[in-house]
Symmetry: C2
Subunit: 341 residues, 2 copies
Amino acid sequence: MTKWFETVGNYSDIVISSRIRLARNLVNYPFCSRLTEEQEKQLKTEIKNALEKINLGDNGLTFTEVGQLSENEGLSMVENHIVSPDFLQNKNAMLALSKDDSVSIMVNEEDHLRIQVLASGLDLESALETANKIDDVLDENLNYAFDDQLGFLTACPSNLGTGLRASVMLHIPALEKAGALNKMSGTISKLGLTLRGTYGEGTKVLGSIYQLSNQITLGISEEQAVKNLHEITVQIIEKEKEARKALVKSEKFVDQIYRCYGILKYAKMISSEEFFDLMSYIKVGISEEILTPEIAEQVTTQKLNYLLSQVGSATICQNAKQDLSPEQRDSIRAKIIQEIL
Amino acid sequence: MTKWFETVGNYSDIVISSRIRLARNLVNYPFCSRLTEEQEKQLKTEIKNALEKINLGDNGLTFTEVGQLSENEGLSMVENHIVSPDFLQNKNAMLALSKDDSVSIMVNEEDHLRIQVLASGLDLESALETANKIDDVLDENLNYAFDDQLGFLTACPSNLGTGLRASVMLHIPALEKAGALNKMSGTISKLGLTLRGTYGEGTKVLGSIYQLSNQITLGISEEQAVKNLHEITVQIIEKEKEARKALVKSEKFVDQIYRCYGILKYAKMISSEEFFDLMSYIKVGISEEILTPEIAEQVTTQKLNYLLSQVGSATICQNAKQDLSPEQRDSIRAKIIQEIL
């Protein structure tokens, strides 16, 4: 089955992916941090029974206990945004993952349930639709902790209300280079959204990829929150497009794009961080039609999206089925890139 | 007619070129710095008459007054080691240049006559043979300033005796990186030779290319001086070969070779200095058979030698028949490189 990231979505030159996450908890159980082992077991069984009622057609769910995952398997899932780093801390936590990796449901992360749906490009609506469908089935079969005033009750008050976190991964190198992000960040904040590093709060920005997500979960419907995020994303896309047009007028920038292509194609060792940087330039080269058609045919957005899922350090170790030194990983990474391009 | 640098000589993976230069002066004239304009004219006519008697077959000499050269034409000749920078200072100086650029005779540089012969690779003997042939014809037709005790009299005492300066351009990146050159320099000095920058004394080293030349012109025959230089060059070649074998065991170095190739092939702007650096890595990649046969077929020593003669800043302006900004030159340089490779 084709993985979700192997498909090319809307505005894929700027929006890498869209993500919807719903936080849910059950009544009759304390929040995860306070569960006894007995309660945790019972809760997991109850939730699993409900999850098995979800019908995703060919894209069915597979269940895995965190304790069954090797370190590299787990970290590879973090690299590919399937699970959160915190999730791996609890060996008794459980993951339900769809075949195409687009639906991942974490049981006993911070909340009893974290329903996550990923989509390629800008596609928050369909991700929300899938998440809602799953949520409805679970709601029928489980007793959600819900308060008429506060909405869904969550372990962290910042999720109270809809329990919804919607986000998009934006590739905005031109706005970044133009120094526009600081000012934009302020405006974004006022609109109830937040702009963060590639792997969320407090993480580094890799290859000019930022996470834009909603902050407010109280007093706003899921649909409205998603609509807001969608609209602001579209505005940022327009601004990034304009900034790219200005950027590629610089001969030095065009030179840099081609240099990145030359390195990506021929280097024998490429670190994960460098891959993000090289990809960033090349993506602009594709979207602005700077790269020759022959090269653009070789380096498609689809291939780059796929590569993004293959070149994480843990993913490389996981696929090689062994722990590797950074040099070995860099060398394998270069081989993978060149095989695929 | 094929230029001398378009041919591939002995040890061409390490020795770029060999050069013989003879300094000669005539009796009955003061040294150049003291010539009156009238004397200078007379001297030039006398020398030109003698030069016209030289028979180089198809590779005949063409005469040019420095005053007739555009600035870029002159500087382009400096870049390609045809004339010295000092030579261009005297508008009344004259150049006799063979069709293949291998023989250049400067009239009224520091000495009345500077006979220079260039050859590809390590080939001091044949260069000396050609220089001697020319010297013999001139000796028959001119009255050389020669002293039985001191030998040929020259403007600078450092050339007294044979008036011979023999040199080789060595590409020795592995010895350089191994930090072996400082120590080697000392030994070389003791043997009456000297190691200098790419364009001679006090110049920068570009792409690990060094000039090795004889220092002693008194009490040693031309043949012995050239033999010494040849023998020490062969020893350095052996050392460089060993050092290269060690160097290419490093994955990082191999990575660097391929990166240089990727940049050379795709960059849109390449400075002259960067070209030397890129070429340096690639030449090792060819000689050590690191680069794949497909790439090695594209990037031959012959092509690199030819490029070396085409990518100097003044040469680019000269060929474009206009003054260009550094950015324009870097852009044209990249185009030339990619057309030729």
